[in-house]
């Protein structure tokens, strides 16, 4: 099943040391933070929109079975066919069979996180079907044979001159300049032929409306419109949490999503389709509902809010850890703060136990989240789950590790007043040899990990308890 991810603390340093990557990332995340703040600040009702978004998502998740059945009824009523897939493999199989049944050897795709998560392109390739990614950034990383490093802008780690070199090499366009408009033109020429001829389109869904069966795709380039309008057959794969109750609820998310993601008042194109429209667009529509670990997330009462996520990526852009390591260090389809809480829950804490630690818990992600996911709260909760897993399933070596033994000792000390006070006294006496001008810069042995990156303030000569007792005595 799920593969164990490399430990973040092992993969982060090599990325942090890549100075080109840090320059690219620093520049773009800095710029988008400023732009986002500007378009959010002009909204007097921003907090009210966040509250409404949070409540709407909570409502859907607490009644998810009801809403999924309502969505199925609605989509069927408007001429679509609904498929249910418990696992990634099952979802991929459904899509592959559908593509095969139309004899297609190529499909055009709108960028979709869910199909990245299920690795649909690999599954299609195994059946001899070529998936053509039509989003510019997605095209860039596929041509470069790299992995995505950002939810919204998968090629965020590449600058314009790197992209120019790539296009000259792979698209046979020798006269390109590094002007972004020029580079976008090359992608337009390359993909236009595909849009006009490929018979099957595959998309994800930003939202699905239970009441009407309407699916929404939010995008910028027009590739989303192409893929959902021109092919004869359209297949949409979506996570089961992407439901909103009614059409009118778009009034909330279509305000918060664009401003949070691309920092625009509205992104260039939003497509809303309601099943099959006679004489307009695909005449066959399939909706594949994917679980793939989501009910596991739903099960955890604190972790559940993670499923509020509308994939805007605002949390990535404000995260001091993401800004320095980039997305690749996470080794997860979903990087950044949201990835640090979503991935361990989707694939099991035992397979991604280091991701909840890929954070300084500064809380910037929670502040910008348009659906108010309390990411720091979930991070701390998942750290607890990671430790509990290690305790319950760990080897003898884990159980005898200094951290585990140390925590056990600390627990004993903190549980008893006299033990706590004697420990304080001991520490005050012991710190003498280590302290310099009120700070300890290097702790011995196992504890050195703490001071490797920061100084520790020394314990004061008088504890609060001592001071309090003295004060009481003077009365």
């Amino acid at each position: 099943m799920s593969v164990k991810l490399p430990m973040f603390e092992k993969t982060a340093p090599e990325n942090v040391q890549n100075s080109q990557l840090r320059r690219n990332l620093g520049k773009v995340t800095g710029a988008i933070r400023v732009k986002r703040a500007r378009v959010v600040d002009e909204m007097p009702d921003w907090e009210a929109l966040r509250d409404a978004g949070y409540a709407l998502k909570t409502k859907v998740l607490r009644n998810l079975d009801t809403y999924l059945l309502e969505l199925e009824t609605s989509v069927t009523r408007v001429g679509g066919k609904v498929h249910w897939a418990q696992s990634a493999q099952e979802a991929n199989q459904i899509v592959t069979d559908l593509v095969k049944s139309h004899g297609a050897t190529e499909v055009i795709k709108v960028k979709s996180m869910t199909t990245e998560e299920t690795r649909l392109n690999d599954a299609l390739a195994a059946s001899g079907i070529k998936a053509i990614e039509t989003d510019l950034a997605e095209l860039i990383i596929k041509l470069a044979n790299e992995e995505s490093s950002h939810i919204l802008v998968p090629a965020i780690h590449k600058n314009r001159s790197e992209i120019r070199e790539l296009f000259i090499r792979t698209l046979g366009e020798p006269d390109l300049t590094d002007e972004p408009a020029n580079l976008a033109g090359a992608a337009r020429r390359y993909l236009r032929k595909k849009f006009l001829t490929v018979p099957v389109g595959i998309s994800g869904a930003n939202f699905a409306v239970a009441e009407t069966g309407t699916i929404a795709v939010v995008e910028s380039e027009g590739n989303g419109r192409m893929c959902t309008t021109l092919p004869k057959v359209l297949i949409t794969m979506m996570g089961i949490e992407k439901i909103i109750p009614t059409w009118q609820d778009f009034e909330v998310f279509m305000q918060t999503l664009p401003r949070s993601s691309t920092a625009e008042r509205m992104n260039p194109y939003n497509s809303f389709w309601t099943g099959v429209h006679e004489g307009d667009g695909p005449q066959e529509f399939h909706l594949v509902l994917v679980d793939n670990g989501r009910t596991e997330v739903l099960k955890d009462e604190i972790g559940r809010q993670t499923l509020n996520c509308i994939r805007c990526s605002a949390c990535l852009n404000v995260c001091p850890v993401y800004e320095r390591t980039g997305g690749h260090a996470y080794h997860s389809v979903y990087p950044g703060p949201i990835g640090a809480i979503l991935t361990p829950q989707l694939i099991g804490i035992e397979n991604a136990s280091s991701l909840p630690y890929a954070s300084s818990l500064c809380g910037a992600c929670y502040e910008v989240c348009p659906v108010k996911i309390n990411i720091p709260e979930v991070l701390v909760h998942l750290r607890g789950r990671a430790i509990k897993y290690k305790k319950d399933h760990g080897t003898l070596k884990d159980k005898l590790s200094p951290e585990h033994l140390g925590m056990q000792a600390v627990a004993k000390v903190f549980a008893n007043q006299s033990r706590y006070e004697s420990a304080q006294k001991l520490a005050r006496m012991g710190q003498g040899v280590l302290a310099k001008e009120g700070y300890i810069s290097s702790l011995p042995g196992y504890l050195s990990g703490w001071t490797a990156m920061r100084d520790l303030k020394t314990l004061p000569q008088e504890s609060f308890r001592d001071w309090w007792r003295k004060r009481e005595g003077q009365k």
Partner: protein, 212 residues
């Protein structure tokens, strides 16, 4: 069956939610703005300012000037073959161009045309957006997508202040199963260093006739 096992897994996962709870029990606070007190003039001014932010050229004209303005816009681009929806009024068309009604034109034909003229269903001042809903003078989705130039007619009465009003106005279209497209400026990408660059796969130029 995956459907049954998925639903069962969801119900187990939600065992902390009381069985009697229904969607109505989660109250959604809607304290955000749904109406503004503005004059028509203020609304049109904001719409113009916001859509110009997307590098869209807006011409503010009177209804009897439509034909003359269509002519001027097309001439400026040296556009010859122009796609129009089947219900587009003849009286708005100008001489000297080849207007092709969309009677099931092939994607190839649309791709080879020089541009398209449509109306819209609603426009939003707050975000500088226009929405098409396969309604009057709007045609099917492909015609406003494949040509490289889109000239859109927006009537002053179609402009609303806020996003929530637009979704309210579009509700009948959705319930009549019409596809809806929000357009905010020409096709663009932010994929290269997060800079917005106009012109990728959709029309690279969007021009608006605002009819007052």
């Amino acid at each position: 069956m995956s459907k049954e096992s998925m639903l069962a897994a969801i119900r187990i996962a939600l065992k902390d939610v009381p069985e009697t709870e229904t969607p109505k029990d989660t109250v959604v606070p809607r304290a955000y703005l749904t109406r503004l007190e503005t004059s028509l003039e203020e609304r049109l001014e904001l719409f113009t300012e916001r859509i110009e932010d997307y590098k869209v050229v807006v011409h503010r004209i009177k209804e009897n000037e439509i034909s003359a303005n269509i002519e001027a816009c097309l001439q400026a681009r040296a556009a010859k073959t122009i796609v129009i929806p089947t219900d587009f009024p003849d009286t708005w068309l100008a001489q000297g161009f080849s207007f092709v009604q969309d009677e099931n034109l092939s994607h190839q034909q649309l791709d080879e045309s020089d541009g398209v003229i449509t109306g819209c269903e609603v426009a939003v001042a707050q975000t500088g957006s226009i929405a098409l809903a396969a309604g009057k003078y709007q045609g099917r989705r492909a015609i406003s997508l494949l040509p490289d130039y889109h000239l859109c007619l927006v009537f002053a009465s179609q402009v609303v202040d806020l996003v929530p009003e637009a979704f309210e106005k579009l509700e009948p279209s959705v319930k009549n199963r019409k596809p809806i497209t929000f357009i905010s400026g020409p096709s663009a990408t932010s994929d290269i260093e997060l800079n917005r660059v106009e012109g990728v796969h959709g029309p690279r130029t969007l021009e608006v006739l605002l009819i007052v």
